[in-house]
Symmetry: C2
Subunit: 313 residues, 2 copies
């Protein structure tokens, strides 16, 4: 059970370390979509993604006695960098298991922040087994990227900051992968302003969250195929029930639509977002009758892209 106070506590803990990121608007994107969009720019966040919020709250909530052995996780992406930086701020070690085919740019970032990296074969079993060994050997605490109450409370602070600045929102929409961001968003909205509808935005090629809601059980994400590389994971035992109870609907869109909306944000707003961040705008574009004339908070989750491999033609 994550309470409103847990989320407010999380915000008080992390706000000395993270940015209260700006909320940007674009006249031309509003005109094109016949709606008022407020983009919360977590692409400008430390480590280039919202993940630093949950990781920082999780690390700083550890008791000194437990924290002294460090923290560990397996991740090829933003959570690895986030956990490493949070551990550095807290003055403890971090152990990161990375698939050996992880992008060099992400390996570099994690190394730069000072993690102990162990490489493994690029599959879920190898990741978990390698992590288990490290945790047994070091007694480090495993910080799950999303199925962790402190992480969820940390991610909930994004919508908290939106509510502090933008009044009378009709809708908040966020991308969904493992569900840490979406469940945190839905929770804080349920506490502070349940009149706001919370929507999830998911790639068609990784639509396990939509199917999980339809079938009322966690459907694992098996062989997901999407350009939105931050949204490949399955819902967790903590995130699924929160999403089930508090999210109004999950929409899916194709990769083609995601790339189109990503390009629109790059061109019109002159900001860099990763494909996962573009999924909500693609959903808005695809469902004009639902979003018409609405005041909508849109969470741009991150901005980490490999500039040598962009999807634009």
């Amino acid at each position: 059970m994550i309470t409103l106070n847990n989320i407010i506590d999380a915000h008080n803990i992390i706000k000395k370390y993270i940015y209260n990121t700006p909320i940007l608007t674009s006249n031309s994107i509003n005109t094109i979509h016949h709606a008022k969009l407020f983009f919360k720019c977590e692409n400008f966040q430390k480590v280039g993604a919202f993940k630093i919020r949950g990781a920082t709250n999780a690390v700083f909530s550890l008791s000194k006695d437990i924290a002294k052995n460090g923290v560990a996780t397996h991740s090829s992406g933003n959570h690895a960098a986030a956990l490493t930086l949070a551990a550095r701020w807290f003055g403890i070690k971090s152990y990161i298991v990375m698939p050996k085919n992880s992008p060099q740019v992400k390996i570099n970032a994690v190394q730069e922040y000072g993690a102990n990296i162990t490489f493994c074969e690029p599959n879920q079993k190898a990741r978990e087994e390698t992590l288990d060994k490290i945790v047994k050997h070091t007694e480090a605490t495993f910080i799950h990227p999303y199925n962790n109450e402190k992480v969820i409370a940390g991610q909930a602070t994004i919508a908290l900051e939106i509510l502090e600045k933008i009044k009378d929102l009709d809708i908040i929409i966020a991308p969904v992968g493992g569900g840490g961001l979406l469940s945190g968003t839905a929770l804080i909205i349920s506490y502070l302003n349940p009149a706001i509808k919370v929507f999830g935005a998911e790639p068609e090629g990784a639509d396990d969250a939509k199917r999980s809601l339809e079938q009322n059980k966690i459907i694992p994400s098996i062989n997901p195929k999407t350009i939105a590389d931050g949204l490949l994971t399955s819902l967790g035992t903590l995130t699924f029930p929160i999403i089930k109870s508090n999210v109004h609907k999950i929409f899916t869109v194709s990769d083609k639509e995601i790339i189109k909306s990503m390009k629109m944000i790059w061109e019109r707003m002159k900001i860099i977002i990763e494909p996962s961040s573009a999924v909500p705008l693609a959903v808005i574009k695809n469902n004009p009758t639902i979003f018409k004339d609405k005041k909508i908070g849109v969470i741009l989750s991150g901005g980490n892209v490999d500039l040598s491999k962009l999807p634009f033609r």
Copy 2:
């Protein structure tokens, strides 16, 4: 003679139409360069570039009797879009001569804002002859992209906005092509805080401004070769003497260095800038002893790039 009051008047005229763009900082870029950099983000400006400032001031300064025939210019770039939009705001026609090989994305932008476009062969002679014909036929007023006092006064408002927000700057650095931006910047600094050094940043492959200062006469830019497509033009009879008297030094850098600094701004700041905007940072990186520990205003001139033709590998 452009006075301080001309620049303040320009600001009062244009500030209802343009953005007072944000000034961003980056801890990691500061650390790497051992300096405190304040990036004035004209990439977020209307039409995606600072050019809208000068164009708006020029158009709104016309008498009604002269303005009624419209305005005209030749440009393949940001000035064309800027003049068209300023003319639309003022409720008059705009006639734009564009080389027929102009990038489609720029043609689209100018068309979208509502210009009357005439295409011509892609050389200076054809541009000027085509423009002459149109001006004779329509009696429209030719608004030069930089060799125009109202345009220079408009571009000077960028540094005015920097001075309003950032105190105790040691240096301001801006890219230089035709010199509208650099001469305006140098002028306002000379009026308001001559202790600040003003530097120009120029591509090696289009170093006519540097050579013009060295030889004390306007050296035309002949067959310039650089990725910084906004900096191909030669200094003008108005911009050259202002730069000569008020700019402390012009530095040049290679295209390789420009691309490297452009990539650094994209990756670390998650904002989109065009190559011309990256020239000042490349200069700072190249001259560490001059810029070390200094507080520096850096003008990011624009963010219009063709996303399908990026220079990153």
